[in-house]
Symmetry: D2
Subunit: 362 residues, 4 copies
């Protein structure tokens, strides 16, 4: 028996538009919003799929009646503004901002899954994404949609910048430790392994089955775009500018990110301090995430495994102190399309509009 099904009085249903729902994140968003009791999907747009039903584009939704009648349309700002109170943007960076501005002007709440509003400083955006920010005046009010960290601000946000998959897997394990001063803000290394869906649904040779299967490879070394938002959030937590090392790798799974973090305790570890320092880390994580429904702090000898989180909005976290090297090794696992993208965006939606945080995320 699922005790969550006892019926709370839910806020009124929101009319929701999904703009750009033809990729893997859009599909995951659709899947979950179709089941959300507080959501009426009034519009789904996709330039390439306009005219087709959701069931035609995504056969796996074909047994849901709504999916057989709801049709993709061309993305028209006026239509969206007229039919929805909330818009999820699953668009390429740069394009998202051009929709966010008029939709917000028309009074909609915007939840953007692109990078467009994640970076507070337009100069950093320009540096990492190449070119001036398309809507700099909106940056100040965008809230970085990491619910475990920015939950209170999300409750009244008009513009939510939902984080990327790598940043989520790096920030959630690191921010509490930095905030508590347990680790040094220097020398941070994140080594991440991502499933192929992270590259999107694009017809490119590099992502063909035969190019990815039986293959592992690093890419984007040493300066991946996601560093911009990661370092921003780490710096805010540390109260000092953080510059870090990040190496993404592509591995042959559909979904999942596994991140291994190499961190330095603020005070050097000694044989006598190891035990006590370990307790402080445990307490720090417990304080930060003990009541967070989607952070699973592993116990005992368990280590994260993407297969235990795929299909869920959960991030697993485990840590080990290495007295030989004096380092703290922290590992996390998440589903890049759920906690790393669409699930997290819905978690923000839930907080923003007063639904139980786990709605449509079980």
């Amino acid at each position: 028996m699922n005790p969550d099904t006892s019926s709370p009085i839910l806020p009124p249903v929101k009319r929701v538009a999904i703009i750009g729902a033809s990729g893997y994140s859009g599909e995951e968003l659709l899947k979950r919003l179709l089941q959300h009791p507080g959501v009426e999907i009034t519009l789904v747009t996709s330039r390439q799929n306009a005219g087709q039903t959701v069931a035609q584009v995504y056969p796996r939704f074909g047994s849901q009646p709504v999916a057989r009648t709801l049709r993709f349309t061309d993305p028209q700002v006026d239509a969206v503004a007229g039919q929805a109170e909330v818009a999820f943007l699953a668009l390429p960076h740069g394009v998202a901002a051009s929709y966010a501005r008029p939709l917000m002007a028309a009074g909609l709440t915007v939840i953007d899954l692109s990078a467009d509003f994640r970076i507070h400083d337009p100069a950093v955006y320009a540096d990492f994404y190449g070119g001036a920010h398309p809507a700099p005046e909106l940056l100040a009010e965008a809230v970085y949609g990491l619910p475990e960290i920015h939950g209170p601000a999300l409750k009244s946000a008009r513009l939510i910048a939902s984080p990327g998959c790598y940043p989520t897997s790096i920030l959630l394990p690191t921010l509490p430790l930095l905030q508590a001063g347990l680790i040094a803000p220097t020398g941070i290394i994140a080594d991440s392994l991502s499933g192929v869906s992270g590259a999107g649904r694009k017809a490119e040779l590099d992502y063909l089955f035969c190019e990815c299967n039986e293959s592992v490879r690093p890419y984007g070394v040493p300066r991946h775009r996601h560093l911009a938002e990661i370092e921003q959030e780490l710096s805010l937590a540390a109260g000092a500018r953080v510059v870090m090392q990040f190496t993404p790798h592509l591995i042959p799974v559909n979904r999942g990110i596994l991140t291994t973090l190499y961190l330095s305790p603020s005070d050097p570890l000694t044989p006598t301090s190891v035990g006590e320092f370990g307790q402080r880390i445990q307490q720090c994580y417990q304080d930060a995430y003990g009541s967070a429904p989607f952070v699973r702090l592993l116990e005992g000898r368990a280590l994260p495994d993407t297969k235990n989180v795929v299909g869920t909005n959960v991030i697993e976290i485990a840590w080990r102190l290495d007295p030989r090297t004096g380092r703290l090794v922290v590992m996390s696992a998440e589903d890049n399309l759920v906690k790393g993208a669409s699930g997290q965006a819905i978690q923000s939606f839930n907080l923003r509009f007063g639904y139980p945080e786990t709605t449509a995320l079980n």
Copy 2:
């Protein structure tokens, strides 16, 4: 918005035991019953995992409170009988019957996922499974748990013999055609491809990653045990004894069965009869499954793909007439652990106890 969440008045919650929940089917059963509003899991048993919590054995359930407190116990008939009204048996064949008998005697409804009660004739059981049937007196009242076919009988069954994965993928596409006399009962061939979870969670060399990955192989040729129940049900539909050809293959996916059926129209196809015969097939399927929530009849040029059904209780069916050979080719796709095992068992549970058929199966 999910219209199914409008609250019907549900039957009272059932106390449910899961006997033998340490394999992949048991895990899927647990996952869905933990979310079923009409189920209180009072007992889960597993000889090898006794004493451990569900969350320890299945880390992916670790974020559900019940999974952190519910502990596996040794399977004791008395304890089960005292604490549950319904027992799901996820046990090896032969063992299941030894639990079913005393549990039924104690008044429980039994839903058995093994082969023990699928075959009506004890001689056929002995022929295919080697050895006398362990509880022949119960065979007469067992209902073969294919809800789309035996729905009415399931509503009052005390003993439900839930079908195997291959049989489901073969029977659902074939039975209506046989019953309508559209195809000949002779010469039926089923060529099936199964994911590795179908072999169970056993530490055997044959199912190691490196033995299955980048490999495809037939097995059990030409006489697989599942033929017993398949031919029984086909014969019932045809009103004549059916003997068929069946070749299972192992392919490197976790889940999913794809079956291709080669069937002969009752009357020879001619260039002029093809169109009209196609309409009769379509009508036949429409009549049989038009309102079945878990059978998806594909339209247009779509063909079944396991990736569109994995994780769901849906079976996809498509067909093609080949005027060159005069044959009817029918293809189906299902998730072997859901529609092919645990999902189907819950579908039967729902029918048996008056829950909406799709409860916990979305």
Copy 3:
């Protein structure tokens, strides 16, 4: 110790061009011809890779000195004719013929991996490939490059039409039985499973990792183009027109084809005839392939498995009689890029020019 390395007196080295070497078959051809002691690769062409070295296009060859100096050029008939005695064509159908004609006119021997010269009857070509044959005058002298069947004719062929991957997996197990009159020419069914490399190296959504991984699906039902050449060769062996059923499926492996054939013995099987008929089949295969270096007739309980042939030029064959249905089930496994394409083309090259049949194929 490899006894094959005792040095026979080899024929003089041939100057060889590979036309269109940018796909998976081209890569496999290159890999093996680079190691062939009787081959000097004088030219490799590829429109899209012109100017790049072989090592740049295929990093895995980067440790071979020749691969670091040999550069792809634009395919120019004159250049090819001037620099090579033999041309392997790894081009799309239709395009291949436009190269074959002038190259043959210039005196080269052509080994074509496309479908252009496999079909003797231009009307059948037009029916299956849509459009008139581009060089019908050459069809008469093309030899279908199945060395185990057409070996003698290959020794003097000027134009070798190397078979496709599916046809090889179907024809080698079937032809000897048909020729010996052991099976009926009617009712033949081939159910085949192919790795994704069979679809070529094309940037299409359907072949992305996430679309193929954890997926199995039939395609091209019921009329795949390869039927044209399969039925032609079966008909020649049977001495009567053969029309058959063929269903290809896509499975998530890089390489490998597994084919299961459903055949009818010429005389009905009876309980008393089964044993003797089995001996005739075994003898038939032994006579046909007992000394064929690349056909492995499995013994005892062994069944074909693609992982045992991938990377080799071997085809595995096993068979079972089913006294219940009266059918003969034959199964084969091969590497679609080796025995199903490039390896077989080199096998023909070896026969044509007097090299040991296994040269560069171990």
Copy 4:
């Protein structure tokens, strides 16, 4: 044309025994030694497969005549000593030493693929492997079989301790830099991803297809046994004791190791020193490996990819300087069963007995 086939005068054929050839490394050893012109395999042993032919145990060798006659025997020291001049040991650690001692006493050259003789200091062995070393008197003369580093010593070695897969992937990229003083001996981090064959051919739940497929996970954190030999070799190169961080991960491929190394330049990088320091690294690698046939130094924007080395004895190396963090990131890719195990052992064999280094390794 393969220029290596011009016939050098080869040393006389060696009689070779393979002890413990029932795992994945043993299979790879067999595959290559069966093709080695300087090797006559006189004996293969395997307790579990005794009595069976090589072709029965490894169907993929079934088309090689030797594999159909050579039979596995029980491993008996006397028989080995009487029939072979060289013994490859593919045995678990601890067991290998018990064979090495009597075989060396009988005059054989021993090439050991286990960890037993890799560690010079018995105290370190005891610390990492638990228990006293079984043959400490042999440690002094064992040569660590990394041919690119210890080539001269290998030429006269009686006992070769062939390195493990992770150590090879870490040492080859790191040793030249340490030796040249270009990087600091402190703070070294290696993050490695290994295919499942690295876990051996063992019937354990953890390595079942369904437990590894669609999964990525770290293990052995923070103190993997391979650290003992890695730190020993790094320390020798650095002239100082090196302690490093190493995190292995299991990824769903059959073969391949991808290692990402985080290193600190000896002198802090400045915007002006980056270019010149990069040249020194490039020169260092060029000096170390410019003529090494199995080390591929990638150029331009290329990064290592396991699919480009699988099935070969090559290790790919690429590096990047990160001026933002001041770090040097080095990446390597190898086949764990070839350069990481059996190929490397044969490379040592070739050097030891005067065969061209690449014999049987192409």
